[in-house]
Symmetry: C2
Subunit: 161 residues, 2 copies
């Protein structure tokens, strides 16, 4: 799979062999929406959307990246990133400029305002943690499992794509 129905449900002559709860992909899909909903009110205070926040996290890790590098890190296409980065530019958090050494490349840099947002942004995950009462160690294991899954899905895509 990824999504084969669980054996525990025998489904003897079941009318539908497809049960939504058995889909790993649906669990992932739902968790994505749940995170989005939980992050929204916190990120609203920073004036960021959730994907914009992730892009800023990458930029806080290291400045002066190309659109392609950001896309590779985030798993997004230029057709998604270009408008997103233009919005970050419009609110004054980043600058976008063609690299004079290679005019095909656009380099994304943090502005002072963008850098200043890092402090408040660091508080966000901790706030979420506090509000959820979840076991940190277990969440870490889950994250590692998901990253393994992502690697496997990436290989599957490369193999069949």
């Amino acid at each position: 799979m990824p999504d084969a129905p669980a054996p525990p449900a025998p489904s003897i002559a079941a009318p539908s062999p497809l049960r939504l709860e058995d889909f790993l992909c649906f669990a992932v899909y739902s968790a994505g929406h749940a995170f989005n909903r939980l992050y929204r009110p916190l990120l609203d205070r920073l004036g960021l959307t959730y994907p914009q926040y992730l892009a800023m996290v990458v930029l806080w890790e290291g400045d002066d990246r190309t659109v392609g590098e950001l896309g590779e890190r985030l798993g997004l296409e230029s057709s998604t990133l270009t408008p997103l980065l233009k919005r970050l530019e419009a609110i004054g958090l980043v600058s976008r400029a063609r690299d004079p050494r290679d005019e095909r490349v656009v380099r994304i840099r943090l502005t002072d305002k963008g850098r200043a947002l890092q402090g408040p942004a660091c508080a966000v995950p901790a706030e979420l943690l506090a509000g959820s009462g979840l076991d940190l160690e277990r969440l870490g294991r889950l994250r590692d499992e998901l990253n393994d899954l992502n690697a496997a899905l990436g290989r599957a895509e490369a193999a069949q794509g």
Copy 2:
């Protein structure tokens, strides 16, 4: 958490206390995109998008549901579902009709064409499984962990929302 950076990374005077790999929410976000990309070529043959496929799975489980019931099951708002269901209607897979007993309610029913799609659709998860070479038992555990996480995130949302 949900997203606290892992303890294993001490980040002694690290320039950024936020590392993308440490985010559970990013692992979920990426897995969602990965599933979408893997499903796309298979679902293209059925003429469905990934969310449309999930909606059809719910309808194959049981027909004649209201928009609200589908939204509850899928975790989607009417503002998302209404256009999606209109597209399913446009390609002839479902019918949408006001309930004569309560004209506020719209009932979604499968057409013959929609029911006929169930057979081919059942093959899709198995195809994905075959193409990925993943351990079924481990995937089941991961799904269960994610569903626990979803429940916890739902509680957190209800508490703070």
